[in-house]
Symmetry: C2
Amino acid sequence: MIDIAVGIDIGGTNTTFGFVDKKGDSLKKVTITTDSKQGKKEYATQLAEVVKDVLKENTEFSLLGIGIGAPNGNYYNGTIEFAPNLDFEGIVPLVDLMKEHFDVPIILTNDANAAAIGEMMYGGAIGMKNFIMITLGTGVGSGIVVNGEMVYGNDGFAGELGHSVAVANGRQCNCGRKGCLETYCSATGMVRTAFELMSTFNIPSALKNYSFNNLDSKIIFEEAEKGDLLAKEVFSKTGEILGRFLSDAVNFSSPEAFFLFGGPVAAGNVLLHPVKKHFENNILKIYKNKIKILPSELPLGDAAILGASALVWKELE
Amino acid sequence: MIDIAVGIDIGGTNTTFGFVDKKGDSLKKVTITTDSKQGKKEYATQLAEVVKDVLKENTEFSLLGIGIGAPNGNYYNGTIEFAPNLDFEGIVPLVDLMKEHFDVPIILTNDANAAAIGEMMYGGAIGMKNFIMITLGTGVGSGIVVNGEMVYGNDGFAGELGHSVAVANGRQCNCGRKGCLETYCSATGMVRTAFELMSTFNIPSALKNYSFNNLDSKIIFEEAEKGDLLAKEVFSKTGEILGRFLSDAVNFSSPEAFFLFGGPVAAGNVLLHPVKKHFENNILKIYKNKIKILPSELPLGDAAILGASALVWKELE
C-alpha cells in the first residue's frame, strides 16, 4: 500500500486532483471542469466521486487525508467564502460536505497558503521558519509563515498582501479599493502597465499589435527577451513596485526569504533583478543584504495540488 | 519569599528598574540616568549593581529572571544593536555581559515587543492569540503576536511597522527613508502635522504661539479639547493616516485587535474616532467590522518595566 494525500486545487475554470505520496510525487492526476452553478452539496458529491473512483482503480492507494486549496478558502471554518470567480452564493461549507463522504482529515485553505506549505515541504523553503510566498497570477496572493507555522490570523483570512496598497490612489482593483499590489504586479497588472506605458511613451513596440484581451505576461516576456524597450520597461516597473512593496513587508515579520511563484516568474532575472534592486534600495538599514528573494522551486503545473496535498502531511505531523 | 521578575526599561535618558511579582505589581522601582558614554561592560555592571542592591535590601525577593526592553533590542542575540539614541558604538552584548553577574534567565527585546507581551499578560490582550501593539511616542514602535507567539522574525528584528511607508515620498525620517508611519503618527509626527497645517491653512490657532521645540502632543490635545480647529485637524489627519495604514496591516496577520499605546492615546476618542473611521472605510471587505482598535490597558508609567518583566514569566512558561 502507498500512503496517499489527495490535493485538490479549485479554480474558476478547472478543479484538479492530485494523488500525492509523501515524497511529493503526484502518482495520479485528474482534472474536471469546475461546475459552480450546481448546488454546493452536489459539487462536494462530485468531488468525492472523483476521489472514490481513483481509489477504486488504484487499490494500492491508502487514503490518509484530503487537502483543498481554493480561492477565499478559510482554514478554520473549512469554507469557501464569497469567492469572486465561483458561482456559488455566499459560503460553501466544503469540508463539512466532504466529510459526509470520507472519514479522514480534510483540510482547506486558500491557494497561496497551500503553495506556501508546498514550498515548505517540497520546495526552496525546506527548513525555513520564517518566509513569505508571493503568488503572481490573475491576482496576487500570499502565504506567510512565522515561527514555522502558517499565519491564518484570527479569522482564517490572513495573508492578503495582494490587497495592500502599493500605489496610493492608484489603479482600480476588483476588491473595490484603489492601488492594491495586484493591480500592478499580477500577470493582469503587467498588461495594464504595458497599456499605461503605450499611452505615455511614443516609441515603437511589438506590444502595440495586441489588444488588451490578447496580451499576456508571457508575450511581454518574449518581446522583452527580443529587446523590445517597452516590454522591458514593463518588467522594470513591475519589479520596482514589487521590490518597494516587499521592502516594507519585511518590517512585519522579517523573513529569511520571499518566494515568488507564478507565470511572470518564468521571466527569471528580467523580473528578479529589478525586484531585488528596488528591494535593497528601499529597505530599512537593519535588514539590508540579509533577505533572499527567490523563485519558487515548485513545478508550476503541479504546485497547487502539491501544496494542497501538503496540508494533509502538515496536519498529520 | 516573593517570586520576582526584574523588568529593566532602557531609554535614551533614563534606565528604570521594576521589581515585579507575577500578578504584575511593581513592588519596588528604581530609576537611574542612562550613562551610555561609559564602556559597555561598565554599563552592564552598573545595571547589575542596582539589581543586587535592591535584592540585598529586600531579602523577601526571590529573583527568577531579568527582562530588558531596549531600543533596537535583539531577542535572539540578547544585544542592543546600533541604537540611535544611545552613545554605545555598534553592538552591545548586554545579555552576555549581565550573565556574568546573575545565574537566572535574562531576556532582551525591543521596547514595543516588551509592551506587547505586557499587554498579553496584564492588559487588554489577555487570552488573545493574534494582536498588534502600536506604541506612539518619539517614534512609532510595534509588537506583533501571531498564534500566541511574539513575532521576532528570522533575525530578531521583526515588527518595525513605524518604518513602513505611510505616505509615498513623504516626510524625511530619521532612518534615512521618506514617508515612514512614524514621521506622521508619532507624538513628534503630530507636531510636524501641526506645523504643516499652520503653513497651509490661514486660521487663528493657539498652536501658533508655540515654537516647534516647545509644542508637544499633549498641548495639541488640550487645545483640541478647547475647540481649537487646527489642533482638532491634527488629530483628524493623524487618525486618517494611522487608520489607513492599519487597514493595510490587517492583510498581513488578520489580528483580533490593535492596541494603541503612548502619550497621544490619552486623547481618547479624539484620536480613536478618526482612526476607526478611516480603518473601516479602507479595509478589505472580508475584514470589515471584525477587528477592534483599542487603547492599551497598561498603565502609561509602568508599562515598559511591566512589559520587560513579563518577558521573564513568558520565558518560564
